[in-house]
């Protein structure tokens, strides 16, 4: 039991008990929809599931690092939208090449991550408050930059439409899942096998002790928010690629979906323990639920209700798992 907890953050891709439970739940859920609805069985449905997993998945990977420090990031959703709005707006107004638009979108997200990092690590504002402030600032700025107008990214058949193939080929093959898995693996390794990851987990576990060990905790805290920012930008690209049009004012609430995925995946909000694999499983559970429930005739409000219950059950299962064992 003790060694298991240890493995959770040590071994890069081995699954702790909570991840196994989550994985089991994911498989059961998928099979349930598969059995209940014939139209769920198509490859297109799988592609739909992935579509809704990309942007939440990126947000969730990034915020896992912040949560590992014991922090939280409420700005995920609005920064995603503001990054995409800024990128798309520059694309239209300065006829940027598409590759540069993508880089700028990621950069804008990263800059907001840096802002969060400075507010939390340097100016010592509590993460909840700092990122709540950034959430509002980003939402306001996005609207101001675009003058509250929708930004449309290039369509697939337009000259600059190639970027859409990053996440899905024109014959509907979900290439994006490889992009997502690639980043999950890279970040999983960074979390488990590098100094950045180690120090982030250490300071999430006991910040003062980590500081007294001579680690520059402020720097690593800041890095965690910058990582989160980078992934907000990347999520912005995924979002633009999947949905083409970006509405100013959208995005609020995405952060809760992403954080829910992280929680279901077994990362503790207390900090010090984190699993990218778990996060990916959590995100897939949310995506399967979101895509699958309409197939068995459940309306959106039931989806919200069920997602809420899933979060509570997942966490209760974690809290009580040791008791069950006995």
């Amino acid at each position: 039991m003790e060694n298991e907890v240890k493995k959770k953050y040590k071994s890069t891709f081995k699954l702790g008990s909570q991840q196994l439970v989550a994985l089991g739940a994911l498989i059961v859920l998928y099979l349930y929809f598969f059995t209940m609805s014939p139209s769920f069985r198509s490859i297109n449905t799988l592609a739909s599931i992935f579509d809704s997993a990309y942007y939440i998945g990126f947000l969730a990977i990034g915020v896992t690092f912040v949560i590992a420090t014991g922090g939280i990031d409420l700005s995920l959703g609005t920064v995603l939208i503001t990054s995409a709005l800024t990128g798309g707006w520059l694309y239209h107004n300065y006829s940027l090449p598409m590759w540069m638009t993508i880089i700028i979108t990621i950069l804008v997200g990263t800059m907001f991550g840096l802002l969060n990092g400075v507010l939390v690590a340097k100016l010592k504002i509590a993460p909840f408050i700092a990122t709540l402030g950034t959430q509002m600032v980003a939402r306001g700025l996005g609207s101001i930059i675009t003058n509250v107008q929708t930004v449309v990214f290039p369509l697939r058949n337009s000259p600059d439409g190639w970027y859409k193939s990053i996440f899905k080929t024109s014959n509907n093959f979900p290439t994006g899942i490889f992009v997502l898995i690639f980043f999950a693996i890279v970040m999983g390794i960074i979390l488990a096998k590098t100094k950045v990851g180690r120090y982030i987990l250490a300071l999430g576990s006991n910040e003062e002790a980590t500081r007294l060990s001579g680690v520059n905790v402020d720097r690593y805290k800041l890095i965690s928010y910058v990582i989160s920012g980078f992934f907000m930008g990347l999520a912005g690209v995924a979002y633009a690629s999947t949905y083409t049009t970006i509405l100013p004012g959208e995005g609020l609430g995405f952060e809760l979906d992403a954080i829910a995925g992280v929680i279901i995946g077994g990362t503790s909000l207390v900090g010090g323990v984190a699993s990218i694999t778990g996060t990916m499983i959590g995100v897939m559970i949310m995506a399967v639920l979101q895509t699958g429930l309409p197939y068995i005739g459940l309306q959106p409000h039931y989806q919200v209700l069920i997602t809420g219950i899933v979060i509570l059950v997942a966490v209760l299962a974690d809290v009580y798992k040791f008791k069950w064992r006995k």
């Binding site: 297109n44 739909s48 509250v148 979002y239």
Partner: protein, 344 residues
């Protein structure tokens, strides 16, 4: 037009320009950008000043109330209002009435407002506009309907971003009522063989198993691109789907995105229709992906709202104006008439 005050005497006793407060339903959709452009044009034509505002999204009743309240407190010459919810604004509307501020309804207007509180409306008849959509789509699927059986039923999908705000609800109902009516004209299908499913509000109790035609309404959990795409995908992934209709720009975009995500059925066996324009929908109509879409005349709506307001302030007799709606498809999308009604 800034100093063009002569034509309609659009200034008060002190020679200051008349000020009109415009409270719209939102900002973010390109539709509203076009409305505000029309309003600005009119303001400059009539030499009045204008403040155009609207809540973050079309479900933010409380935010719009706040805006209407602010607008009244500014003591403008007139207010143009596209109400999200009339009932919650009754107190405010009567407050405006007591202060002698005329209210002009625009877009879907201020339905159900007390007699005499709204001076005039510049609005689209959303119900009729959606009926237009139903008629055009039915033409393309009537053969399928004639061949439908209870074993091989066919499905007509509707994607609405929500069903609470007056305009979207009216469109949803306009399309639904008319399509059911048209389907029932087929000798093959009686009204009892049409199942309306997908939303508790409209379910008609007919089981899908007993129906030859299923009309299914999908509403997303949130009014976002991501969520509405999931709603549309759910429909596309049902093999018996033959038609799908989106009741606003978000719905149309959701259908187009979902179509790409689920194997491009719009290009083969499903007839798609949309509402309003925007880059994505125009492109889809032009390429024949969408069978067609309905456009209102947003510029005209904005323009007429201000024009009616100015006239009302000047004591002229004003009455409701229907700003109209047009079905556009691949054949007429690039015509001059239609282009004037479209916005990217």
């Amino acid at each position: 037009g800034e100093n063009d005050t002569s034509s309609n005497g659009s200034s008060n006793e002190n020679g200051e320009k008349l000020h009109i407060e415009v409270v719209a339903k939102g900002f973010q959709h390109q539709f509203w950008t076009a409305v505000s452009e029309g309003a600005e044009q009119a303001a400059s034509d009539f030499g009045v000043t204008m403040n155009f505002t609207g809540p973050a999204n079309e479900t933010a009743i409380q935010e719009q109330n706040q805006m209407l309240s602010n607008a009244i407190n500014q003591s403008p010459a007139a207010i143009a209002l596209a109400s999200l919810d009339t009932e919650s604004q009754i107190d405010l509307i009567s407050q405006a009435q007591n202060s002698g501020i005329p209210i002009i309804g625009f877009d879907s207007g201020v339905p159900g407002a007390p007699e005499g509180s709204i001076t005039a409306n510049a609005s689209t008849d959303n119900y009729a506009a959606a009926e237009l959509g139903a008629e055009n789509i039915f033409d393309a699927i009537s053969e399928d309907v004639d061949n439908a059986t209870t074993e091989a039923s066919v499905r007509i999908g509707i994607v609405s971003q929500e069903v609470n705000s007056m305009s979207i609800r009216t469109r949803t109902e306009g399309f639904m009522d008319r399509i059911v009516e048209l389907v029932a004209t087929s000798d093959n299908v009686s009204e009892e063989e049409i199942a309306i499913v997908g939303h508790d509000r409209y379910n008609n109790g007919v089981s899908e198993n007993d129906a030859k035609v299923v009309v299914e309404l999908q509403v997303p959990a949130q009014a976002t691109d991501a969520a509405i795409q999931v709603s549309a995908q759910t429909l596309f992934n049902k093999p018996d789907l033959i038609a799908i209709f989106g009741t606003n720009e978000l719905g149309g975009n959701g259908i187009i995105n979902a179509n790409q995500a689920t194997g491009n059925r719009l290009q083969t066996d499903v007839v798609g229709g949309g509402f309003d324009s925007g880059a994505l929908q125009i492109d889809a109509v032009r390429n024949g992906v969408l069978h067609g879409a309905i456009t209102q005349n947003p510029v005209q709506i904005g323009y007429m709202a201000i024009e009616l307001a100015v006239k009302a302030v000047n004591g002229e007799d004003v009455s409701d104006v229907d700003t109209g709606a047009v079905w556009y498809n691949a054949s007429n999308v690039d015509s001059e008439d239609v282009q004037a009604l479209l916005y990217e």
